[in-house]
């Protein structure tokens, strides 16, 4: 088996007496969607912050493409190939859709230190940005101010900005949040095809989407991974049912 793209080893993080992340070891392999599910307060957001570099762990390590990035900041991890989307859209609301995508492309090219030529005149940046917008279905809205977008379109743009980075691994924090049934279905289809480009670590509450997409599922409860397995294995696990899925799952 080839080395995993992303690995966490015994990650620990406490806030006071609360163990938000308790010995979490998991990995993300080439070509897969690895979903993380768990009840509210299980520590999913903390785990994402630890992996993306927003928070430093108390102990344990994060490895990306064989490199230890435990002590690297968010920006360094992004440059190393980590593409993240936010649960609550983090977009420059005053800017246009295209400008938001160009920002991503600029980060990927690592060249924001140009002070004279307008960013939108850069054919290379623009091409990358427009390509990403086209793929998520926002090509026709490129000129709109971000604040004018519907909630669903903002979710699409979140994904598009991550795409402009051409990352080696995606970390998606509830990309379906607040999308209607139709929106979820479309995004599910898109993520399904995206995994062949780069694996996706997917935190998601939409169980239909998780069971439809995930190659593997890890269940997080009170900061611990209580089970990891295929969708069928997780569904069959008594422990998971008791802790989270409930009787009707």
């Amino acid at each position: 088996m080839p080395d995993p793209i992303l690995t966490t080893t015994n990650l620990q993080k406490s806030f006071g007496a609360l163990k938000a992340t308790d010995s979490v070891s998991l990995d993300l392999r080439q070509g897969e969607i690895h979903a993380i599910i768990g009840p509210n307060g299980a520590g999913k957001s903390t785990l994402i912050d630890l992996i993306s570099g927003r928070t430093q762990p108390d102990a344990g390590s994060v490895t990306l493409l064989g490199q230890d990035v435990t002590h690297a900041g968010t920006a360094a991890r992004a440059r190393a190939g980590l593409g993240r989307t936010f649960q609550i859209s983090a977009l420059a609301m005053e800017d246009t859709v295209l400008q938001n995508a160009v920002l991503g492309a600029m980060g990927a090219s690592g060249k924001p230190w140009r002070f004279w030529r307008p960013a939108l005149w850069d054919a290379d940046l623009r091409m990358r940005a427009e390509e990403a917008l086209r793929r998520v279905g926002l090509a026709d809205d490129a000129g709109k101010r971000c604040a004018e977008l519907s909630h669903g379109q903002r979710r699409q743009l979140e994904v598009a900005v991550a795409l402009t980075l051409s990352p080696h691994a995606f970390i998606m924090d509830e990309p379906m949040a607040g999308l209607g049934a139709e929106g979820s279905r479309l995004l599910t289809g898109f993520l399904d095809s995206l995994r062949s480009e780069a694996p996706i670590l997917l935190v998601e509450h939409d169980m239909d989407a998780v069971f439809a997409l995930a190659d593997r599922i890890s269940v997080l409860v009170y900061g611990r991974v209580i089970a990891t397995g295929t969708a069928a294995e997780i569904r069959a696990s008594r422990e998971v049912r008791d802790a989270y899925l409930g009787e009707d799952a």
Binding site: S52, R54, G73, T74, A75, A76, A78, R79, R84, F86, A90, L91, A92, M93, E94, D95, T96, L98, Q99, N100, V102, L103, G104, M106, G107, A108, G110, K111, P112, W113, R114, F115, W116, R117, P118, A119, L120, D122, L125, A142, G143, R145, V161, T164, L165
Partner: protein, 327 residues
């Protein structure tokens, strides 16, 4: 609502028409007022880079204005007294050449902005305001106790400095010089706002976490903005000192930092012509109302209150609405 471009052209035309008219009517004092507005607008355009594009509310921009002023004062003082400066064993002659003075002003205020920015940008919000204010006070009191260069009384420079090919004591020629520099600064601001750097800086102001997530460092972006901003304000300081042929610690005062913020808010934060409109209004009110009453600041305060309460985008926002991102 009118397109911002039209308003910008109208403002620029007015800005040049007033001194042209004054020249014809032989009203040199009006030309001097226009020059004052141009210099304040240059300083405020500098602040507009930090405040408007980067969202950095700096209550310490008087530092750079003062450094620019003292760069001029110190160099011209040594030139007019024919005494070289003693700098660590080296003797450096003073100068009356504006281009040299400007260069020194730019470099010195740039260095100060790096130091102040490095420390201040570790904080944000109200703490950033406070720390820039504290730095401003440090420079202010340093200037007061700097006896070699006049201390509290400041320095008088008897003859305006030279620019090759111009008679800088002629009001309209000096106005032309200042207006040219202002136009260059506006051009820089305009291009900067649209450049990759400007786009990233704007995003760092709005959503710093997003900027990090695409692999850029928001603090570094803001630091560069702060330095460019400080340099522009520093250049304005050198011109201001030359306009008055006088420098004093009041150029470092926090009230001046506040005035610069007022100019930008009055005109429109982050808008190209915001600082020029703000400075034009400020100088006009100061002159017109100042003739009528000593309490003209009260009226300025009332206008500012109305702008902040009812026209968030300043005068530009009032006429043109929200800034339109270019497609």
């Amino acid at each position: 609502m009118i397109p911002e471009r039209h308003l910008n052209i109208a403002v620029l035309m007015l800005f040049f028409a007033v001194p042209a008219w004054a020249l014809i009517m032989d009203e040199p004092f009006t030309i001097t007022l226009a020059t004052r507005a141009a210099i304040l607008a240059l300083a405020a355009t500098g602040l507009n880079i930090a405040l408007g594009l980067g969202g950095l509310v700096s209550l310490g921009h008087a530092i750079f204005f003062g450094i620019g002023g003292y760069a001029m004062g110190v160099l011209a003082f040594h030139a007019q007294t024919y005494t070289p400066m003693q700098l660590g064993g080296f003797e450096i002659a003073g100068t009356k050449s504006m281009p040299v003075i400007w260069l020194v002003a730019l470099v010195a205020s740039g260095i100060a902005a790096v130091l102040v920015g490095l420390l201040s940008l570790r904080t944000s919000g109200v703490y950033f305001i406070m720390i820039t204010l504290a730095f401003g006070q440090m420079f202010y009191y340093f200037a007061i106790s700097w006896r070699a260069y006049g201390g509290e009384d400041g320095l008088s420079i008897y003859v305006r400095n030279d620019f090759p090919g111009l008679n800088t004591l002629d009001p309209i020629q000096f106005f032309g010089l200042c207006a040219t520099l202002l136009c260059l600064a506006l051009l820089v601001f305009w291009r900067l706002a649209r450049s990759p750097f400007g786009l990233a800086l704007g995003a760092a102001r709005q959503v710093p976490q997003r900027v990090e997530t695409v692999g850029l460092d928001p603090v570094r972006l803001k630091l560069v903005a702060f330095v460019l901003s400080g340099m522009m304000t520093g250049l304005a300081g050198a011109l201001f000192a030359d306009l008055n042929r006088f420098v004093s610690p009041t150029m470092f005062s926090w009230q001046f930092s506040g005035e610069l913020i007022v100019l930008v808010i009055l005109g429109g934060v982050g808008r190209l012509m915001g600082p020029l409109i703000g400075a034009g209004l400020f100088v006009t009110l100061e002159h017109v109302l100042g003739d009528i009453t000593d309490f003209w600041h009260v009226i300025l305060g009332a206008i500012l209150l109305v702008i902040v309460l009812f026209a968030r985008g300043g005068v530009v926002g009032l006429f043109c609405g929200k800034a339109r991102p270019d497609a």
